[in-house]
């Protein structure tokens, strides 16, 4: 479902090396590049959407036209021509995908090997056209029936629009309004894919939900929209992304994720993002402009964001929590690694509105090579947020003398009973730590891996177990060649 003709864009366009060997026929179902109301009507019609959703999209589009691209982030890229992007293309036929792993870039395969990914999954990740008879299909089927039993709704958002319109209509845009920001408005106008999750009252979701299992999520959409609702007392853990580098042809990704937690509900949202970061010279790579926000509407609700960001040429992402319910809790744990010419401007917002709300922010940044990264966060404690508590820690580790690490924390406090602490440190890998490891016979590369993993431990501990193991390995692979 990725617009294939984005490649018509000039020089800095997506991963050249990834494209080698892919035949990209222009699908008759693909819209010509450009964005106007007709395009949106077309998308809406293609998806058989109800009238209200079309109006909603158009409203977003009209708002988007009045907005300008944000420039405050500490990232640098050549301007994006929004009229050169095709905003709809029908699901790809298997014809344009690589026929077997032999056609896939060997470098990519090498990485899979290192990450220890099974062959079948390698094929899936590399976008190899696999037949319908595929292991994960059966996995998914058993998976689905189990969820159904529990009463959990987990389906593509377009299906949800069709089957549960009242839920979608009630919640979509209630956390991230259409005109929230430039990219969110664009997403609201043209989103084509994403997940919808609804956990009914008092249900603990029997398994970790993952986009990875959703069959059509193999090629994540360019404008994804995810909506997760945890009703009173419900619990869900949601995994997004994958440690393995994914084949993707879109340069611009503008996703929106909305989470709603009612009384006593808990949502745990984990992301591992490892999209194509561009080559050694900083050419190509994904632009990842994401709006993620959670609304802790109910009392004693809890939302926890965990992210491991190692991919993308540019990351612009601030998963936030609006702590509206009394005693609600927001957490943000993040590891971001930028190497080569990657740039990441990421952080979080914790808006304390309810009484006795608590938030924790742990952000670990690692910059290597020419990588540049910023932590940009906001902690706002409102007038009525009596007894609010925040703890923020953001640490940066620098490897090499041409990288940069920056911290921009905004703290706004309007209530005297609030307790707010912010700490940040920046340093290079401790020479004494390194020396200690070397003196014990550990090679320099292993020593650096050890130290980096220790540095990230607070965050990795928050990841679901399998993810944590993969994340460790991912850091090792990503750091290869960055040291020395």
């Amino acid at each position: 479902m990725n617009p294939a003709n984005t490649e018509s864009k000039p020089e800095d366009f997506a991963a050249q090396e990834y494209k080698a060997g892919f035949v990209t026929d222009i699908d008759t179902d693909t819209l010509p590049p450009g964005l106007n109301e007709d395009v949106i009507r077309h998308i809406s019609a293609k998806k058989d959407e109800p009238e209200w959703l079309l109006d909603w999209r158009l409203e977003a589009f009209r708002h988007w036209q009045t907005m300008s691209e944000p420039t405050w982030a500490a990232v640098d890229y050549s301007p994006i021509d929004y009229q050169a992007i095709s905003y709809y293309s029908a699901p790809k036929s298997s014809a344009d995908a690589p026929k077997s792993l032999d056609e896939v870039d060997p470098k990519l395969l090498e990485t899979y090997e290192k990450l220890g990914i099974p062959l079948r999954e390698q094929e899936m990740l590399a976008g190899v056209a696999v037949d319908a008879v595929f292991d994960s299909v059966s996995v998914a089927t058993t998976f689905k029936s189990k969820l159904k039993e529990a009463g959990v709704i987990f389906c593509p958002i377009s299906e949800a629009v069709r089957d549960y319109p009242e839920l979608v209509q009630q919640y979509m845009g209630s956390v991230v309004p259409q005109g929230d920001n430039f990219y969110a408005a664009l997403n609201s106008a043209v989103f084509t894919d994403g997940s919808f999750v609804y956990i009914p009252r008092g249900v603990r979701c029997p398994m970790e939900l993952s986009t990875y299992f959703r069959i059509n999520a193999m090629n994540t959409g360019q404008f994804e929209r995810t909506l997760i609702i945890a009703d009173e007392g419900a619990y869900v853990s949601y995994l997004e992304g994958c440690t393995a580098p994914q084949r993707d042809e879109n340069q611009l990704h503008a996703a929106v994720v909305e989470l709603v937690a009612m009384d006593n509900a808990q949502i745990k949202y984990s992301t591992v993002q490892n999209w194509y970061p561009g080559d050694e010279n900083g050419v190509g790579g994904i632009y990842n402009f994401v709006t993620k926000r959670a609304d802790c509407r109910g009392a004693r609700s809890k939302v926890s964001w965990t992210q491991v960001e190692t991919g993308s040429a540019i990351t612009w992402k601030y998963p936030s929590c609006v702590l509206r319910g009394d005693d609600s809790v927001g957490e943000f744990y993040s590891v971001a690694l930028t190497k080569m010419h990657q740039q990441a401007d990421t952080g979080t917002k914790m808006i304390h509105i309810g009484k006795n709300t608590r938030s924790t922010i742990v952000s670990k940044g690692i910059a290597a090579g020419h990588g540049n990264q910023s932590y940009r966060g906001l902690v706002r404690i409102g007038k009525d947020a009596d007894g609010a508590r925040n703890y923020t820690q953001c640490d940066s580790l620098l490897i090499g003398d041409r990288c940069g690490a920056h911290t921009f924390p905004y703290v706004e406090v309007k209530n005297p009973t609030a307790m707010m602490e912010h700490e940040a440190t920046t340093s290079k890998i401790g020479e004494d730590q390194l020396f200690y490891c070397l003196s014990r016979g550990i090679s320099e590369e292993d020593a650096v891996n050890l130290i980096v993993n220790g540095f990230c431990k607070d965050v990795f501990n928050e990841l679901p177990m399998e993810f944590a193991v993969e994340a460790n390995r991912l850091m090792e692979v990503s750091l290869e060649g960055a040291v020395g």
Partner: protein
Amino acid sequence: MNQVNPLVEQVREQGRLTFNRLGIPTMRLEHWKYTDVKRAMAPFMDHLGDPPAEAAIDTTAIDALAMENLDAYRMVLIDGRLHQEASALPQGVRADSLATLLAEKPEQGIEPLTTREDAPLFNGFVALNAAHARDGVSICIADGVQLDKPLYILHISSGGAAHICHGIHIGSQSQATVIEHYTGSEDTAGFTNVVSQVRLLQGGSLTHIRLQQESSRQTHIGRVSVCQQRDSRYRSHSIALGAALSRVDLITSLAGTGAACELNGLYLTGGRQHADHHTVIEHRAPYCNSREMYRGVLDGRSRAVFNGRVVVHEGAVKTDSSQSNANLLLSARAEVDTKPELEIYNDDVKCAHGATIGQLDTNQLFYLKSRGLSEDEARQLLTFAFADEVLASIDIPTVRRHIEHAAFSKLPHGVDIEEILV
């Protein structure tokens, strides 16, 4: 002053043009996001450049406002005009009136008036200052001079807009203490706009105390810009107690190897006061140190803003920097907005920063109460102790006592605590 030198006129014209373009900073600008100067500036907008009317302030009034018993070389400025020059300065030390300098040695005089527009935190007020600053003090300490007494610059405002510009030059291996004291009688509602340009040559050392104690209706805008050469030491104490709205920008550039700076700040606000402190520390050379500690106590409906930025440039290896900002909120309607920033382009550094906002430690309160202090006394004592940590590093006892006394009278029930302590 009657015939204006073309060099000076050029600087003035440049300032006017830049100000016309930039205007008064608005809240749309990132660095003025929390500070709205529009309403405070409204009464002055029509006559920004007009010199204030000659105020009649006699010696008794001046002495009443000055720090008592301070042994120093004193200069007095009234509404931005030099009223009393320093006398009996030792050899190698000059403290001239900027107005005189501009008339007699314009190429030297315009130096503190020129700020490049790409300098950090440059804004319309700096341009306005260049266009209209009539007077100020130009201090020049020759190489190798250890000044025996502090230079004390007392500013008194009596209303109207005063634009003041100071230049402080510390020669190689010299040492000096400069105190800028801003004050005025209680009922004045004027506007003070000060730019101080400090330059420290190799091994120079300066202790710079900036005490802002203006009337509670005054608007105070200040900028201190420091350039440090090799192995120089700059130590600043920036204290904001007065003014309805105050904003002080402090920019230090550690340009030479081994330079160090220590920035201390304290703001005590009450009523509807607004105090804004922005600092930028630029590490441009290897082996430089910076230490920064700002603290605030907020009461009533007051609001404080702190923005501390530390930039470590490429090549500034072995940088060691720490920064902290702590705030104590005493009232439910006070607000604090803090933003400690780090911007680092180099891996061989050790940087840390922290910010806290909160209330008094309940354990400490309990301890004092168990020793027989009342709840109120215990609270005031701890509040004072919190603020006093910043003042502890002021090594001139008279100055420290003066500020402590002012701080006591600012804190609720502070006078009673002063009796306990002193």
